[in-house]
Symmetry: C4
Subunit: 191 residues, 4 copies
């Protein structure tokens, strides 16, 4: 299997994940701005997840580009990531419907923590491949640290939701902001 | 990231957007032409949105072809566009169910205005890239003017819906017609 | 626009059309073979439409391969075809739920007739492109005749449904069979 | 038709199959871990099917890579496989909702047996193509034996579900495990 095939399939799955989430946005039965306001939490959780999945897509792309051999370990590390990403529409819908409930907030944070862990595993597999080549190890370890930090924050959001959901929401908003800024540099350098 | 990757992912998302809208067309519980006639507004709003998204796809394709560097700004301008486009199935469904309500008509116009604005931002990013190259600036400024005109019309459809929804519908039908004709020339020249 | 882009986008849309139809197959509330038998008409109409769309995909592929220039006329002829194809999940669901009602049978035949007409328009556009080249006109006219015959049969199934739905179903089953056989030769020659 | 086109279309369909299954995971009406636990069977059946479809995707990819000529027989063998695979979301949803009912377990096993049979037919077609070339016949016959063994096990799970559903579930879990291990070697050698 070539990396381009792996990428094409992953892209297909990610494109579907990001798009089917909009199916959760059901048209309110009344055409008033008040009725629309009631589904604002569903809309906001959709917007947040769109951003999160978009960031994952950009990161996934950069990561796969560094792949040398599509080994079985790598293939299954990637499928593992796609599995947890495929649950994003579910936890998003759940969060949108129960945004004031600690448990729904915790579940959202948990799935994103699992996605982050899957990213870490995928990168670990990449680093293993690069051991014999000793190129870009600096970049990898920087990214892995950043990734581990993200996972830690998302994991923190799980118990924190039971203290105050606002702290968890702060984490959900801060992490995309954090990724968003450095990615600017990344994408520029990866022209 | 290469433009072909950006294009492939965008195409995937647009193909899904255009196709999942048909899921809103629910089979009437009775198999009569009368029952089918009742969902005619849903069908018509689907047809309109199919046309609008198809035009956006064609324009998006031409626009991405002019890209030189996939910078982070461009990447996120594109994701911003895809986000507003992904809301088309939602506003379409809403319009189909409440076609006689000013608010649903206004919301439809608003989302298309936001899509148009996202197109303008994407083109502005492109023009910025071309500043140092000074090629096809004529084409860009013509297209940007046309784009700004479209956005203005869609924005106008928002308050207009509260005066008379028919004026807004006229705008919704005129804009595709306007884009449809010039695209003939565009596509021919872009063989 | 290149033919490969046109093909990739069309493929995406067709792949989604063929797959989302399965979403209409709702799990019966009781896990008995009797309950499953009740949704047999929905299953059969799904199977039929899967076959019909698969045949259209194969034919579409051969047709696009003969394209020389992606003109605006061709682009919009293709989008016109995709629009009528995108309604297949809707008419399939409708047929599955009301298989004994002439109107649902007629609507199914009508949409397939419109798909066939869209194919004819697409091929007419192709023949126009080939006028100056005079190659494979024989093949085109054979296929156009075959296509016109299919459209005529599907159109016939519309009024026929009001006489007896079995005659229309016979047409629905015969046409795929007819296309299926010659395609064997086509695909072989198109290795 | 080229193998890359066949692969791209199949990939599109498989990516959609694997992703739309998540739509069956409906957000519980209450945000409690207890309510989430109630949909655990739906989640587990989703996870199992994700794994099964992912394995089929990997195997399908290796199989298509060995294709020499995209004949009509091969094309339709492939579409036949995609049809039975497209039913996986349906039988998965059914299993998730009625996991304690022999009939739902039997139906799940039956569809996977049909997918396995479709794989066997596709490989038989490949072997027929290779008859004149006599390369990799060893690999093919090994894989065909393995495939036939899988089909036999899945078929066995159908009546077994009426004895004890646990035996069928054991088969459902063992087969992916069996495929998972050897694929490691396969993917490595197919770098």
């Amino acid at each position: 299997m070539t990396t381009s095939r792996l990428e094409a399939f992953s892209d297909g799955v990610i494109a579907i994940i990001v798009t089917i989430m909009v199916l959760e946005l059901r048209a309110p039965s009344q055409a008033t701005w008040g009725a629309l306001l009631k589904i604002a939490p569903i809309f906001l959780s959709y917007g947040l997840s769109f951003l999160v999945v978009a960031i994952m897509w950009v990161n996934h792309h950069h990561l796969i580009h560094a792949v040398r051999d599509v080994t079985a370990r790598l293939l299954w590390s990637n499928l593992n990531l796609l599995f947890w990403m495929s649950l994003v529409p579910f936890v998003t819908d759940f969060l949108g419907k129960h945004y004031h409930e600690p448990m729904a907030v915790a579940l959202y944070g948990l799935d994103l923590a699992l996605c982050g862990t899957a990213f870490t595993l995928l990168r670990t597999e990449l680093i293993r491949q690069d051991r014999n080549h000793d190129t870009l190890p600096e970049h990898h370890s920087t990214m892995r640290r950043k990734n581990a930090f993200t996972v830690a924050l998302y994991l923190l959001s799980v118990p924190l939701a039971y203290v105050t959901i606002y702290a968890s929401f702060l984490i959900f908003v801060l992490i995309p902001a954090m990724y968003f800024l450095p990615d600017k540099k990344d994408a520029t350098s990866a022209r």
